[in-house]
Amino acid sequence: MTQEKLAAPAAPAIGIGQSAWKRRHLLDVDDFSSAEFETVMTTADAMKEVLGRDVPRVPALRGKTIITLFYEASTRTRASFELAGKALGADVINIAAGGSSVDKGESLVDTVRTLQAVGADALVMRHPASGAPYLVARQIHAAVINAGDGWHAHPTQALLDLFTIRAHLGDVRGRRVVIVGDIAHSRVARSNIWALSTMGAEVVVCAPPTLLPAGMRPVGANGGRPDDDSSEALAMPSVQVETNLDGAVEGAEVVMALRLQKERMQGGLLPSLREYATLYQLNEERLSRARTGALVMHPGPVNEGIEIAPSLAGSLQSVIEEQVANGVAIRMAVLYLLARGKP
């Protein structure tokens, strides 16, 4: 897969009122500067105000066309991009790979060229292959927004998680954030690790050794499985790695549980769901080791009773629904910054 970065690096010094945004695409947040994160956060604040109105609609992207192209299932991401585009006055067209010419064998590149030809100003895409949006971004002029590519990245999820954490805790610098679950296969974890590390949080990942990416595995713990080549290839910022959730949660201000991707069970990575739940489920007893009032997060969809106790998902400490609501504001911010036209 490609590691090439298509977006231009941001100018290092940012003056007041000056733009910290030179990007044409949003492919990942791994090369974001803290100033760029701030730009997205401030823009999302303004979008949140719009969403709070009786009629949440502004004409900022009037006349623009946004196309969502999803080669994988999605509820919240696709719905929130659609709502975001409509709240900004854009025309939004949703295309699912099934039922489109993809079924007739049209290639990804041909499909996106067609969508550009019909007038897309921004293309929001989800694809099972890591790196697919990078390939597309090289082929078309429209803004490409990665809504999830394979195990690689899910930048808008990381942005909305950062936005949600900041709404409760303010600056994330020095705050202990624990991400627990299937780290190896999670694009959410990967993008969150980049975003939170860049913003100065103390990031801790916690998983059974088989669900940690190769580079993070403790020595001797099933290291170097030959089938893990794609996670080997991805560089990551250094984070604290724990295999014991009780210890990991100690002193945490945010605990983020990831969806256990049941499809991975086929690969023999876990002895059983029950054992996973016993050792890695986020429950009240474990959460009591975290700081008082620690935030409970989950990118959804939730397997209640597996990665998180049902009582916790709906508890006061849970900001899971807030994450979904903030997703619309963040996606409005991203669309506004990318689809408005050439600056």
């Binding site: 003056g15 009122g17 000056q18 733009s19 910290a20 945004w21 730009t39 401030t42 823009t43 604040d45 303004a46 979008m47 105000e49 719009v50 109105r53 009629v55 609609r57 502004v58 004409p59 900022a60 900004l88 506004y336 910054l337 408005r340 036209g341 050439k342 600056p343």
Partner: protein, 187 residues
């Protein structure tokens, strides 16, 4: 402000001039509205916001009545962003009251083409139906492209298109001053 040439221009309003203009406009707002019932000020980012606060302070001093002050970023309503020096960063928008039936005084630093005011009126009408919208500006530099006129003016400054009116305020720039400068041969 950003990327501006070294200010070789001259001062058209001093700190004292700005203070007097603000106080006069405050009086005019009270006089024109025959009091202050249902009058709200809405400052347009960036420098309209501190100006609106100063007007409210002056009105409080003269009339002993504090009036609501809001702030408005018109970024989502502009039709001319790519041609402006403005970055994409949006600032806070907050209406102090449900503006239905209120007399809303928009406050901005410089009135030029009128396009920002057009955008601000679009934004205001998305929030409700004010009884009236009035406009207060520190400087009217002319060259309108839309049928918009201010109700309260700090100073009329006839300008050439090649000139810039640079408003600096204590709250945003560390000093109070308005300068007329020449654009450095671009666009």
């Amino acid at each position: 402000m950003t990327g501006a040439a070294p200010p070789d221009g001259h001062v058209v309003l001093s700190a004292d001039d700005i203070r007097r203009a603000v106080r006069r406009i405050a009086h005019e707002i009270v006089e024109h509205n025959r009091g202050l019932s249902s009058v709200a000020l809405v400052g347009m980012h960036t420098r309209g916001v501190p100006l609106a606060r100063r007007l409210a302070d002056a009105i409080l001093e003269f009339e002993g009545e504090s009036i609501p002050v809001g702030e408005l970023d018109i970024g989502l309503y502009r039709d001319d962003i790519p041609s402006l020096e403005l970055g994409p960063r949006l600032q806070r928008t907050e209406m102090p009251v449900d503006i239905d039936g209120w007399r809303v005084v928009l406050v901005d630093d410089v009135l030029y083409t009128g396009r920002s005011i057009r955008a601000a009126m679009d934004a205001l009408t998305d929030f409700g139906r004010p009884a009236s919208i009035q406009l207060a500006v520190l400087v009217d530099r002319g060259h309108r492209e839309l049928p918009i006129r201010p109700d309260y003016i700090g100073k009329n400054i006839p300008t050439a298109l090649q000139e810039n009116v640079q408003v600096m305020l204590q709250e945003t720039d560390g000093l109070d001053e308005v300068r007329l400068t020449r654009k450095e041969g671009e666009v």
